[in-house]
């Protein structure tokens, strides 16, 4: 059985290995997967930025100014925006979609925490 093909979950880390604020890179599902723990919620995504291959595991997690109709700044999506350390492309951590264009995305993985293990599976 190949979990990369079937969508089955695979164990990648012990839960205590990724505390809030933690970041790790693992090899799973025939890919290099970055995991970040944002205040207790774990996100998993492809480790390389689709733009120029920047190491997303080092990306800052924050919010971002939301799209507005006029010239004003409205902060939102706190803790849900990942900024690539190389050129600043920003992605929604949940969907993987770039903030500038939803047609551009980084692959994200489903995350489950079961029996003290962090598991990932393909969406």
């Amino acid at each position: 059985v190949n979990p990369a093909a079937t969508g089955e979950s695979v164990r990648v880390l012990r839960e205590h290995e990724l505390p809030p604020g933690g970041r790790r890179v693992v090899h799973a599902l025939e890919s290099t997967v970055a995991l970040v723990n944002v205040g207790g919620r774990i996100f998993a995504f492809a480790e390389r930025c689709p733009h120029a291959g920047g190491p997303l595991v080092h990306g800052r997690v924050s919010g971002a100014p939301l799209p507005t109709e006029r010239e004003e700044y409205v902060w939102g999506r706190e803790g849900r925006v990942l900024t690539c350390p190389w050129h600043g492309w920003q992605f929604d951590l949940e969907s993987g979609r770039a903030l500038f264009d939803s047609r551009v995305a980084v692959a994200t993985y489903q995350v489950h925490v079961r029996d003290g293990w962090i598991e990932v599976s393909r969406r």
Partner: protein
């Protein structure tokens, strides 16, 4: 062909007197040392800014005589329409007294509409405003847009600030509301109250100024795109006039790339800037760049999606660097010809199709 940039002119600004109140008529007659002149270029073309053969036979300055224009441009090149953009009147907005600037702009508009347009059905006019007086400009747009011969609102690339500044938004909004495009024509850069025309200050020579004629347009276009105005006012359309076009691919590529990384700074810009340009901005071809190998220009322009829909032919008659139709057609991809030489402008300005075979002689 449709010619999107033709410079008709008065030989003396005093020709505007009949359309001016006495206060301003006095400025023209007696103001300064011996009557008023519009701010003019500190750079001098050594042999003159105008075509050597365009002066009317009966006297006057090139562009001032309809019959000469008809034989040299309208008839000779079988024009379907030409857009009249005036000459130094573009510089009214760098006169410090904006009451005077607006009065001159209004007088010029009436002079064009009342004395030029009735002479030939192929003539269309840009209306001029003093853009540094946005309230006055808005009122004038609402008034002159009613005239069927007015096809756009003309602004110079020389301005006190970049056009994306909210100070100017009412002018663009009023044009869109009136159904008129705004044209941004190279000129007035570094004149009167305007800042220097380049980031390195004032060029020493005209050759430098003319080489960098696109610099103001580049800054205004990027400013407008980053202001989000095109998205907020979807009916807004912009023509960029007399700035050449080979700079466009580079600027669009840079802006698109920067926007992907820096959209957080301008979250009101929600569309890829180059897509906005394709939808709402057009560029006149003159002065079309002339690489030694013409294939390179065709390759460069073809590298921008939709470029064949964004270019509109212009001669810049009667200026020294006039582009004639046959040479422009030869320098662009042959399959773009019908669009660039006519269709794009007809659609942009909403001009009815005319059978040029039957055009008045």
């Amino acid at each position: 062909m449709i010619d999107c940039d033709v410079h008709h002119n008065f030989t003396s600004i005093k020709e505007l007197s009949p359309w001016l109140e006495p206060t301003w008529r006095q400025y023209l007659d007696r103001g300064g040392y011996s009557g008023y002149s519009l701010p003019n270029y500190p750079w001098v073309h050594p042999s003159g800014f105008l075509m050597g053969d365009a002066a009317p036979p009966n006297g006057g300055i090139a562009g001032s005589d309809y019959d000469t224009m008809r034989s040299q441009l309208l008839d000779r090149w079988n024009a379907e329409y030409v857009v009249l953009n005036g000459e130094d009147i573009l510089n009214v907005s760098c006169i410090p007294n904006h009451h005077f600037g607006r009065a001159l702009a209004r007088a010029y508009n009436r002079w064009t509409l009342e004395t030029w347009l009735p002479q030939d059905d192929r003539l269309r006019a840009s209306m001029v405003v003093d853009v540094e007086d946005p309230d006055g400009a808005v009122a004038d747009i609402r008034e002159f847009a009613q005239h069927p011969g007015v096809v756009q609102v003309l602004l110079p690339t020389g301005a006190r600030r970049a056009y994306g500044d909210p100070f100017y938004h009412p002018v663009f909004e009023a044009a869109a509301e009136a159904g008129l495009p705004v044209a941004m024509h190279a000129g007035a850069d570094g004149l009167g109250t305007n800042p220097p025309p380049t980031g390195a200050g004032y060029p020493r020579f005209y050759i430098e100024y003319h080489t960098l004629i696109c610099s103001g347009a580049m800054a205004h276009l990027v400013s407008l795109l980053c202001s989000g105005l095109f998205e907020r006012v979807p009916d807004l359309r912009l023509a960029v006039v007399e700035t050449g076009v080979a700079w466009l691919p580079g600027v669009l590529w840079r802006l698109d790339a920067n926007w992907k990384a820096l959209r957080a700074e301008v979250p009101w810009v929600k569309t890829l800037p180059s897509e906005t340009v394709q939808r709402q901005v057009r560029f006149t071809t003159q002065p079309l760049e002339q690489p030694a190998n013409g294939t390179n220009l065709r390759k460069l322009l073809s590298a921008v999606d939709g470029m064949e829909n964004m270019l509109m032919f212009a001669t810049d008659y009667p200026h020294w660097d006039v582009d004639v139709a046959t040479l422009v057609e030869r320098r662009l991809p042959p399959e773009w010809s019908s669009k660039v030489m006519g269709e794009n402008a007809r659609s942009f300005y909403g001009l009815p199709v005319r059978d040029t075979e039957k055009a008045p002689a």
